[in-house]
Symmetry: C2
Subunit: 239 residues, 2 copies
Amino acid sequence: MARRDACSDCAIRTRALCSTLSVEQLARLRRLSYRKRYPPGRLITGVDPAETWCAQVLSGVVKLTKALPDGRQQIVGLLFPSDFLGRPFGSASPYAAEAATEVELCCHNRHQFEELMHEQPGLKQLFLERTLDEVDAAREWMLLLGRKSAGEKVAALILHIARRLAGSGCAAGPGPGPMRFDLPLSRTEMADYLGLRIETVSRQLKHLRTTGVIGPGVGRTITLENVAALERMTEGGAP
Amino acid sequence: MARRDACSDCAIRTRALCSTLSVEQLARLRRLSYRKRYPPGRLITGVDPAETWCAQVLSGVVKLTKALPDGRQQIVGLLFPSDFLGRPFGSASPYAAEAATEVELCCHNRHQFEELMHEQPGLKQLFLERTLDEVDAAREWMLLLGRKSAGEKVAALILHIARRLAGSGCAAGPGPGPMRFDLPLSRTEMADYLGLRIETVSRQLKHLRTTGVIGPGVGRTITLENVAALERMTEGGAP
DNA sequence: CGCGTATTTGAGCATCATCAAGCGCCGTGG
DNA sequence: CCACGGCGCTTGATGATGCTCAAATACGCG
């Protein structure tokens, strides 16, 4: 009976939108759902089409990007496990989604998911609250993009990713010693998220390492040696 | 019977969230609503408190701002007539709202407005779709803040305001001759919305005027002489 | 081992910020 | 009526942050 992809086994069972569904509704949704994997860098959805499906992130990190005709790019959001991907109700989603790491999705038929939201007010309510949180997060990032220095931006990004990873159970928890994790983004992606160039990101990262705020690990490895200092640096406080 | 503030007279009757309400529900909401005016520059709500009310903009322009402890500011959104102001459901709104021009609001008790949304799925649905549009708008602005040059930013702001003003029936419509309007923002506010300094905004505006893309009017007056050129400049095309 | 890609490092430069006047507008008050 | 002062905006000169270009190094992988 217990299938490997049964909802009760689901890694995001308690945090996903599904957490509001009754057992019966959950069973119904599961019949309409399927899992899908993407390797790092693979495009998940393009900009144009009115996609016929939506999904929830089971594992990995998805980046949402917008681009200018001349190739300049901006990452406008990162999705972590239990986040929702897609644009129900009308207008086509004006950005592309791409796998930043290896990604696993739980996909639903968009139309049927919309119907389920209509039938189950709790589901729609939770989706609405998540969407409101997304507005807040986007605006927080607007403050970063418009008003913060390169150093503040990089510090804020590290903290942001650390918190989201911790919240989704990846990376060594708040156990003994400093938190350690791998950035799910390349330097290019970090730059595209922060409105910087990769060289600037690289230099700021080096600065954080030489001042001991983060550990000396190479590449994407981050060790949070001094979270308080990092927090101060996100708002213009001294290093 | 016909009071001056009757909903049927309301300037935003057809575009506001209320447009989904039945006559009876509209009457109920109206009994719980009141109008409020703010002069330019007046604070409407601060950051901290879990506000007990929410509102819809009847006239004027409201700016939503976030600030860093050292005083740096970023405008994270502008509200025009028929836009919704407030943060129903839980978490306190993490930004301040301030009147940019003379503003008139139609205010509702937050709790009762939430209840109305629960009772009337159409209202909640419309609110949800508006919120999704807000996410899109915020992310569009993230692209601007992170990746556009000063010239592109100013061009985009003028177009953005022109469209929103036209959509809310202010300013000379698309009748004969070029559209003309007054910017609802000071130079400081434009800079805070674009992530620039006021001197840069001033110089970019001058450049647009000397190249004839906008008319030579002084101060906040804008005449759209060449919309196509303005649109091109928004994305890196030649002036 | 050798190649392709990601990242780091360095040097010079451009854009936009900063600093500093100056101008125009307007309400106040002599 | 005009001098005064405040404020918002403009203009100019200078400089710093972050970008561009270029090359070296490290890394992953066949």
